[in-house]
């Protein structure tokens, strides 16, 4: 945000973006629900239309916020609101990934061993799933999706981990540069971060293609569903983060941030670190341990 000078808490008049956002979100969710529930060949256009409205809303709303910030309409109280908003946003993100990691740990450490006869699950194993060993990774005793192979963690996941870690190094260099007001350095390292994020996504798509060739699909029981949900939603966050950094890069080029006033930059940089840590967790718990 730019200079904070006003004593009054800035309240915009005739804000039209909240209602546009509501319409967009409703259209997206209703479209997605129809797509999932319909047994006939339902086209996904309603969902796409909703997503388009959401994108228009985001560009419009965020653009207005940036403009108001640069006009110096925000005082320190508004600044506090932005920071509190960031905390709640991150809290929701943490809970979101905690759900999927929780599902992974529960299946892996508790329910799969029970089906295999561990602990009090002995009769479950002998009576219901006799012969099932309950060893992770598994598609369960029902053998959903058929025989599958696991991706080699030394290949694409390793490359992707190196790419994301490098991108966090580049954004940290940019962060140090913005604090000493070195605009050119900031732009170069931010652009490098976006590029590394894009390469990561390219390899992620390549990994999914390889997985399907190994018959590891979204249908492959508990391993397939946890694997694709965790890595898929993570990929979505990388894409979003890269778009956010690209916009921040343009803002830096326009001279928007100052060493003592760069919350927009800092929030995006932190978000990128968060996405990187989630990947590190995935690499450790999904691929390695």
């Amino acid at each position: 945000m730019s200079e904070v000078k006003a004593d009054q808490y800035f309240v915009p008049h005739q804000a039209r973006w909240p209602i546009v956002g509501s319409v967009g979100l409703t259209t997206t969710v209703v479209g997605a629900a129809q797509l999932l529930n319909s047994e006939t060949a339902m086209t996904p256009w309603m969902m796409y239309a909703g997503l388009l409205i959401m994108v228009i809303m985001m560009f419009g709303w965020f653009g207005e916020v940036i403009k108001e910030s640069e006009e110096g309409l925000y005082n320190t109280d508004v600044d506090t609101s932005f920071r509190m908003g960031m905390i709640w946003f991150i809290f929701s993100e943490v809970m979101f990934f905690a759900c999927f990691f929780g599902a992974l740990f529960y299946a892996r450490s508790l329910s799969v061993p029970w089906l295999g006869g561990e602990g009090t699950g002995l009769s479950t194993n002998t009576e219901l799933w006799n012969g099932y060993e309950g060893v992770w990774p598994t598609n369960g005793p029902g053998e959903l999706g058929g025989k599958f192979e696991i991706l080699d963690p030394f290949h694409l996941p390793l490359i992707n981990t190196m790419l994301l870690l490098t991108s966090s190094v580049t954004i940290t260099i940019a962060h140090h540069a913005v604090r000493v007001n070195n605009r050119m350095q900031t732009i170069i390292w931010l652009a490098a971060t976006v590029l590394l994020g894009a390469i990561f996504m390219y390899f992620q798509v390549a990994e999914y293609i390889e997985a399907y060739h190994l018959n590891l699909t979204l249908e492959s029981g508990i391993y397939g569903s946890t694997f694709f949900l965790l890595t898929g939603f993570h990929g979505m966050h990388v894409t979003l983060g890269a778009i956010m950094i690209a916009i921040i890069t343009i803002r830096v080029a326009k001279g928007h941030f100052k060493p003592e006033n760069h919350f927009g930059f800092e929030a995006v940089a932190w978000y990128w670190h968060f996405v990187d840590v989630v990947w590190l967790g995935l690499f450790i718990f999904v691929y390695i341990l």
């Binding site: 320190t76 600044d79 506090t80 920071r83 509190m84 960031m86 905390i87 991150i90 992770w136 990774p137 598994t138 598609n139 053998e143 999706g145 058929g146 025989k147 599958f148 192979e149 696991i150 991706l151 080699d152 963690p153 030394f154 981990t161 190196m162 870690l165 966090s168 190094v169 940290t172 962060h175 140090h176 604090r179 391993y223 003592e260 006033n261 760069h262 919350f263 800092e266 929030a267 940089a269 932190w270 670190h273 968060f274 990187d276 840590v277 590190l280 967790g281 690499f283 450790i284 691929y287 390695i288 341990l289």
Partner: protein, 70 residues
């Protein structure tokens, strides 16, 4: 060896959390956010190199290299 990796990962989470705390509390004036984020990335790189070493030395065997009976 597994537990060492998990403890290191928890330390990385702690550094990330500290950076968030100072981002909200420091109001942009504090150097602590960038400092903890720097600690976070250094720790992550070290952990990554350690995992590579652990796999090479056979201290940790990744599960993703065997065929799954289906």
């Amino acid at each position: 060896m597994k537990y060492l990796i998990i403890v290191a990962f928890l330390f990385i989470l702690f550094s990330l959390g500290q950076a968030l705390f100072y981002m909200v509390k420091g109001k942009g004036k504090s150097q602590n956010t960038v400092r903890f984020l720097t600690v976070r990335i250094i720790a992550s790189v070290v952990l990554f190199i350690f995992i590579l070493l652990a796999m090479k030395m056979g201290w940790v065997v990744p599960h993703g290299t065997k065929m799954v009976p289906g």
